[in-house]
């Protein structure tokens, strides 16, 4: 189940051709260190991320879930295997090409927000466009601000915003370039549960209303419960998978895996 058979690989390729799959990983291995001290964080993981779906990756710490996300998001390179994003195979790209690809196709939401303190909320949100040398469409930008609920916070700096508001800025920043896929790394990890809930709602809403493909790494069952599909990692392998599942079912699966 974790490893695709040859026929499955073919299916994947057809799916990609159809445009149903936007990101896929093939036999991803990631080894840290060398010799006796080498650690395999990923031991051959293959997966497809479908367009317009929210995929959650769960697992205990050390399971390889972050490594998997970093590799899928072109922040890290696999030791073996390869990643395809929007039909482009990453392996052969140089740093510049990867950067351009991230610009065009990938949005990020980080656990610690990672906003620039000297920029206003608006400037932070527009940063990816600014870096790419593009001009924002004012109407679209207004819609985005409304969507994340920051219309009255445009000129505030991060230090004047609450944690939840900062993460809203970060989500808007991830969405502003209309990326093929948004990667969210523990987006609620640094927030209280009520604010975390609002952020999850926001992410879900982007999937529903705009068909925003999203991959979220989390260790919270409550967060994974908003996903269309939940992958469970343990010891560098995908050990289980659920479709859209309730918090209860997810906790149960985690419990089983722990045994």
């Amino acid at each position: 189940m974790q490893t695709k058979t040859e026929s499955e690989t073919k299916v994947t390729e057809t799916a990609e051709a159809n445009g149903r799959v936007v990101v896929s990983g093939h036999e991803l291995m990631r080894r840290y260190g060398e010799g006796d001290t080498a650690v395999d964080a990923l031991k051959g993981v293959s997966l497809d991320v479908e367009r317009g779906k929210l995929t959650a990756v769960m697992g205990p710490s050390g399971s390889g879930k972050s490594t998997l996300m970093h590799i899928l998001a072109a922040l890290d390179r696999p030791t073996a295997g390869y990643v395809t994003i929007a039909g482009t195979r990453l392996g052969k790209l140089n740093d510049n090409e990867v950067t351009k690809l991230r610009r065009e196709h990938i949005g990020f939401v980080f656990q610690f927000f990672n906003l620039l303190p000297m920029l206003t909320a608006e400037e932070n949100i527009l940063l990816p466009l600014s870096i790419a040398g593009e001009k924002p469409d004012e109407a679209e930008f207004q819609t985005l601000l409304d969507q994340v609920g920051l219309a009255d916070r445009r000129k505030h700096r991060p230090s004047e915003l609450s944690g939840g508001q900062q993460q809203r800025v970060a989500i808007a920043r991830a969405l502003v370039s209309r990326p093929t896929v948004v990667f969210a790394d523990e987006p609620t990890g640094n927030l209280d549960s009520r604010t975390g809930g609002e952020i999850l709602e926001l992410l879900r809403q982007a999937v529903e209303s705009q068909g925003q493909t999203t991959v979220m790494v989390t260790h919270e069952a409550r967060a994974a419960a908003i996903a269309d599909r939940v992958l469970f990692l343990a010891d560098g392998e995908i050990v289980s998978e659920l479709g859209h599942a309730s918090e209860h079912d997810i906790l149960e699966t985690l419990e089983q895996l722990r045994r």
């Binding site: 740093d95 510049n96 991230r102 949005g107 980080f110 990672n114 303190p117 940063l127 870096i131």
Partner: protein, 855 residues
């Protein structure tokens, strides 16, 4: 605790090295200066010790105590008969008479041009019959024995490729002549005489060539076996006439070294000043670097506090870090100074200001001074950051993004800064304009005032960073895109840090600007002074422009066909009304064709009524001595001849560059009082264009190669060029402090990049290319450098304006050399670009993933 500090330092080796560089350069300059000047000092000492090594006593003419603008005036010669009288004294074993001349004798190079390098050109008439008196060692050949033979110094022989047997032309007070080179010599133990040259003749030849028939400059005497030098001096004094002075060889050597020692001391302090400036800039860099590292280690320091470290221990650990950096930097700087000493010597050589040297002298004093100064400056610069570190509360250990608690005095800082600036300006004003200050107190209080002003402006500058950055950041925003806009944002995030970094560069730029602005004003003043005084079409001066030269040249000039009026201006120093002044001798009937008097009292008509004891005095001299028209005063020549003179008129020459001395008398009177009949200028009026007449005059004075024929414009240009050369040397020396400040910017950027690692990771993640990252850092660096320029340029202009005001009595003008100031601003941009190279590369190379996970 000590181990924690040292381990921490070891863990931040790269930063420690960058920090140390700031001190290394300043210490290197100090140790280099000491090594170089000690070396020069020893070379001179060797020369003098050698000169009098075998001499128990020296007999010379008694001279009035004359010294003029640091240059001593050569004593008059004594009559040859004195030598005979000396030889009659029973306690005298041997005695010889020699001649010394330090400017008139010039060796000609292969192209027929005199070899002059801003250093004395000695001519000796040596009696080598008694070997013990001879200061020189032959390297090749033999001593001259006829009026056709000469010996020259080994340095000149080497440079010009002269060998024993060659014909060498030598200019003297007689028309230039060829001599056979029969030997090559040098002072024992001296490697190089620097720019100086010497030519040795036998005594009769030298007497003839130097216009000293029947005369000797000095008599070297050796005592018989048991007589001590002191007894010999007593015996000689009893036997010799009143007008000679007798000293022991040791006393004479000391007297000679003292004169030159003053000069070496001046060079030492001159160069040390630049070392001190570099160290001062280095202190800013150290202060800033330690402040940043302390801020970045907030959590670490807080953790130490939770583990029981006392404030005193925290203070100690930061100071220990400064101490270790200072010690390492000082040791490296000390040895780098050895290399720098050679570099400085090369700089002097390039500017033809070379001085005698021997093997490098590495005195224990150099080691002590360099180490103490380097370490003390570093530790002092670390004091404020260290005290700041003690304010970190233990709670910061557990708080995310803990920041520094502000000081209790923080709110007073702007007032302190403003007060500091005000006090500095007041001190500068006082030291420049107060009348009752001695030169050294004045210089010291100016130095303190300038330093205080720099510190004051640096303290104020955090408030200025934001507005200045928004102006100088404009190009970055325009051409740098998102990277440029982020760069400006980054540059104002921590105004204090940016301000301190920019302040280090500000100092260098302010000083360079000061030199440029003051220099431009001085050049203009010089030009105006010359133009307002000179009427002549052509001017003859010596090769260097300021020495007196052979009178024969003016007679030769008269033979040139286009010459209409040729008028000489003699010059010598003398005691006048109890002060040492320059005295000029003129042709009263002809002078106005070449020189324009600006009369205060009197008119050109007075020139015809001077008689033999009439004098024209300069206004400032007259005011000083309370002299008015009709009063008389006494003039005493270096040889002790006295003359009573009467003031006939008062002239008001441009105080910046009066071409005539304080006292001007007719040539006949001058020649009756002074031994040396040499000219400072010869003014020539010609028929036809000066340019056309120039070559005819050059041909006419060809036999006197020391005389240089120039048009008025050429003369001004030459002076301009020499002055420009001097300014260039100042720029080179100031460059050192600019280099230190470059390292300051590098340091700050590296630390900032390090601090913003996660941000860089995020920017890379959301699509910033490596090139954009580099551009962002580069623009931040340029903005910082331009802030330094924006502070430094006005500050330098202000200081130059202040000095110009203070020099008002010398008519110094104020002029802004706009083109040069623009070049300095452009140089600041280059500084920014250069400083960014390394930090930008480090930032661009950051692994995105590791950067994102960085805490």
């Amino acid at each position: 605790m000590i181990r924690v500090a040292l381990r921490g330092l070891a863990g931040r080796k790269f930063r420690a090295v960058l920090t140390a560089v700031a001190i290394v350069l300043g210490v290197a300059m100090i140790s280099g200066t000491l090594v170089l000047t000690d070396t020069i000092d020893r070379a001179f000492t060797r020369i003098f010790v050698e000169s009098y090594a075998g001499t128990d006593a020296v007999v010379r003419a008694k001279s009035p105590d004359l010294s003029f603008e640091g240059e001593s005036v050569a004593a008059a010669p004594v009559a040859e008969e004195v030598l005979e009288q000396v030889r009659q004294v029973p306690s005298v074993d041997a005695a010889v008479g020699n001649l010394f001349e330090d400017s008139a004798v010039k060796i000609l190079d292969n192209k027929g041009e005199p070899i002059v390098k801003n250093a004395p050109t000695f001519g000796f008439g040596l009696d080598v019959s008694v070997a013990r008196f001879n200061p020189l060692e032959l390297k090749d050949g033999r001593w001259p024995v006829s009026d056709r033979e000469v010996v020259i110094d080994s340095g000149t022989a080497e440079d010009e490729g002269f060998a024993v047997g060659d014909r060498v032309s030598v200019a003297t007070l007689q028309p230039v002549r060829d001599f056979e080179l029969v030997g090559i010599a040098q002072y024992g133990g001296v490697e190089s005489l620097g720019g100086a040259t010497f030519a040795v003749f036998d005594v009769p030849t030298a007497q003839q060539l130097l216009d000293r028939e029947g005369k000797l400059d000095a008599i070297s005497v050796a005592a018989v076996g048991s007589t001590s030098p002191e007894e010999l001096v007593r015996d000689l004094e009893r036997a010799l006439p009143e007008n000679v002075q007798v000293q022991t060889g040791v006393e004479q050597a000391e007297e000679d070294s003292d004169e030159i020692g003053f000069f070496v001391t001046f060079i030492r302090y001159f160069l040390l000043t630049f070392g001190a400036i570099a160290l001062f800039v280095g202190a800013f860099v150290i202060f800033n670097t330690l402040s940043i590292t302390v801020a970045q280690r907030t959590r670490e320091l807080a953790t130490l506090r939770t583990l029981g470290a006392s404030r005193r221990q925290v203070l100690g650990s930061v100071l220990l870090e400064a101490l270790v950096i200072g010690a390492i930097a000082s040791v490296i700087g000390l040895f780098a100074g050895l290399a720098l000493a050679s570099g400085l010597n090369a700089l002097f050589k390039a500017l033809e200001l070379e001085l005698p040297t021997t093997g490098l002298v590495f005195a224990p004093r150099t080691v002590i001074v360099a180490l103490v100064v380097g370490i003390v400056v570093t530790v002092l610069a670390g004091l404020i950051p260290a005290f700041r570190a003690t304010r970190v509360p233990p709670i910061s250990a557990v708080r995310e993004g803990a920041t520094f608690p502000p000081s209790r005095f923080a709110r007073f800082w702007p007032y302190v800064a403003a007060l500091m600036v005000a006090l500095a300006v007041a001190l500068l004003g006082y030291s420049l304009f107060a009348d009752d200050l001695g030169t050294s107190e004045r210089l010291l209080s100016i130095a303190v005032g300038v330093l205080a002003l720099f510190v004051g402006v640096a303290l104020v500058s955090p408030k200025l960073v934001r507005p200045i950055a928004s102006i100088v950041g404009w190009p970055a925003r325009r051409i740098g895109g998102a990277a440029g806009r982020l760069a400006q944002g980054n540059s104002v995030r921590n105004p204090g840090r940016t301000a301190a970094t920019a302040a280090a560069l500000m100092i260098g730029i302010a000083l360079v600007t000061f030199v440029a602005v003051l220099g431009a004003g001085l050049r203009d003043s010089n030009r105006d002074a010359i133009e307002s005084q000179i009427r002549a079409d052509l001017i003859l001066t010596s090769e260097d422009g300021y020495s007196e030269f052979v009178a024969g040249a003016s007679d030769a000039a008269k033979t040139a066909a286009p010459a209409r009026v040729v008028t000489e201006v003699r010059e010598s120093a003398a005691r006048v009304a109890d002060s040492t002044q320059n005295v000029s001798g003129i042709d009263p009937g002809l002078i106005t064709s070449g020189y324009a008097f600006d009369w205060k009292e009197g008119s050109d008509a007075v020139l015809g009524q001077l008689g033999t004891n009439g004098a024209i005095v300069a206004e400032n001299f007259a005011d000083d001595k309370g002299l008015t028209v009709g009063e008389s005063f006494t003039l005493e020549s270096p040889a002790g001849k006295k003359k009573q003179l009467t003031v006939k008129a008062i002239a008001d020459p441009p105080p910046f560059y009066p071409l005539l001395g304080a006292v001007t008398i007719p040539k006949q009177t001058f020649d009756s009082v002074f031994e040396a009949k040499r000219n400072r200028f010869v003014f020539v009026d010609v028929n036809g264009s000066p340019e056309a007449a120039k070559s005819a005059l050059e041909t006419a004075v060809k036999k006197y190669p020391d005389a240089r024929v120039q048009t008025r414009a050429e003369w001004i240009d030459k002076e301009d060029k020499e002055f420009q050369q001097f300014l260039s040397m100042l720029y080179v020396l100031l460059a050192l402090s600019v280099i230190v400040s470059i390292f300051g910017i590098v340091n700050t950027l590296v630390l900032s990049v390090f601090e913003r690692t996660r941000e860089v990771g995020m920017l890379r993640a959301v699509g910033m290319t490596r090139r954009q990252v580099r551009r962002m850092i580069r623009h931040e660096s340029i903005i910082t450098a331009l802030i330094g320029a924006a502070l430094g340029l006005p500050l330098g202009i202000f200081l130059a304006g202040l000095i110009t005001q203070a020099l008002g009595e010398f008519d110094v003008q104020f002029k802004l050399p706009v083109d040069q100031l623009l070049i300095f601003a452009a140089a600041a941009i280059l500084v920014g670009i250069a400083a960014a190279v390394l930090p930008a590369r480090r930032a661009a190379r950051l692994n995105v993933l590791q950067a994102l996970q960085y805490e």
